[in-house]
C-alpha cells in the first residue's frame, strides 16, 4: 500500500486487521493447564498484566506506561518472522534481519506519524538499553518459567533443558531489569529440578 492509499482510518484499520495474525503465531510455552501452546497475542496480553501487577519491581527510572506499550508491540514482527524459542538454535543476525524487514512491512501499513511513533517504541524495546526496555525485556523472560512451573516443565521438557541453561539463557536476562524476580524464579526452578525424576 502506498503512503497515500486510503484514508487515515483505512490505514489504521488495515494495520489492526493485519495484527490479528499474531493470534496465529504459536510459541514454545504451554498454557498453565497444559491444554495447548500459547500464541504470541495472548502472551503479549499476559505480559501487559505482568507489568501492571509487578510495577513495584521496576526501578525509579522505569516508565510503566511505556513498558506496557512496548509489551503490546514487542512481538508484532513475529507475524512475518515467527517466534524463535529461547532454547532453540538460531542465526541471530538472520533473525534480526527478518525482524527488521517485518517491522518495515507491518509498521509501514500505518500513517507516517503513527509508523514513526510505534516503530520508535519497538526499537527502544529491541535495543534493551533504557531502564524501561530492560524491565520490559525482563518480564518477557520471566513469564515463560512461571508457565513452565505450572505446566510441569513445558518448553524445558520439550527442549531437554538443564537448570544451568535456564540460568544462562533466561536468568541472566531477568536479572538485568528485575533482580528480585530472578531470585524468586531461581528458587522455584531449583525446587522443580530437585523434585523431577532424572531423565
Amino acid at each position: 500500500m502506498s503512503d497515500t492509499a486510503g484514508t487515515r482510518l483505512d490505514r489504521q484499520i488495515a494495520f489492526l486487521n493485519e495484527a490479528d495474525k499474531l493470534k496465529s503465531t504459536i510459541r514454545a510455552t504451554e498454557l498453565c493447564d497444559k491444554s495447548r501452546y500459547e500464541n504470541s497475542a495472548e502472551h503479549s496480553w499476559h505480559l501487559t498484566l505482568y507489568a501492571l501487577v509487578l510495577a513495584d519491581q521496576a526501578g525509579p527510572d522505569v516508565d510503566i506506561n511505556l513498558v506496557i506499550k512496548m509489551l503490546i508491540l514487542h512481538d508484532l514482527v513475529e507475524i512475518d518472522a515467527g517466534d524463535n524459542p529461547i532454547f532453540g538454535d538460531h542465526d541471530i543476525a538472520d533473525m534480526e534481519a527478518q525482524e527488521q524487514a517485518a517491522a518495515d512491512r507491518i509498521f509501514g501499513l500505518l500513517p507516517a506519524d503513527l509508523r514513526v511513533e510505534l516503530r520508535t517504541i519497538w526499537e527502544e524495546f529491541e535495543a534493551a538499553e533504557t531502564p524501561s526496555a530492560k524491565f520490559a525485556k525482563s518480564l518477557d523472560r520471566f513469564q515463560p518459567p512461571m508457565q513452565n512451573l505450572k505446566s510441569g516443565g513445558g518448553s524445558w521438557t520439550d527442549f531437554n533443558v538443564t537448570e544451568a541453561q535456564i540460568h544462562e539463557r533466561v536468568g541472566a536476562k531477568i536479572n538485568i531489569g528485575a533482580p528480585a524476580l530472578w531470585d524468586y524464579a531461581r528458587d522455584l526452578i531449583a525446587d522443580f529440578f530437585a523434585a523431577r525424576p532424572r531423565l
Copy 2:
C-alpha cells in the same frame, strides 16, 4: 487464600497464573481469517493495540494510558462468568452479579493495595461514566464488527443478526465514546449487508 498467605510476590504470581485461564475463555467473534473463535486474552491484547493506534479518536479528557489499563483488565471476570455475546440473550442483573462475584474472587488473590488499585480501574470501566471508560467501551464494541467484516460475517451470521440490530446494540455504544469510528463502521456494515445474499 487468606490476606496473609504467602509473600507479596507469591500473591502477585498466583493472580498472574490464575489470569492465564482467560486464554481459554472463548468469544463469539472469529479471527479475521475465520480459522477459529477468538479468546478473551488475545481479544484484550488486540484492544490495547486499538487504543494505541486509534488514540487520535479519543476526546481531550481521555487518559489513553488509563484506557489501556482498563482494556488489559476488562475481561478478567470472564474467567468465572464466561463471555456474554452481545447478540445473545442474557439476564443483565444475573450477569452483573456473576461478574461482581468473579471480581471479588480474582482481584482478591492480589495483595490489598493492588487489589484496590486494579479493581478501581475495572469498576471505572464497568460504570462507563468517565471519558476514558466511555472511549474504552467504544473500542470494545468497535473491534468485533471489524473482525466480522473480514471473516465474512462471523457472529452476525451465527446469531442471524440484522443491520438494524447492529445499529441498536453496537452502533449506539460505539457512538458514545468514538462517533467517527461508528460513522466508519456504519458505512462498511451497510456495504456488507447490501452485498450479502438474502438469507
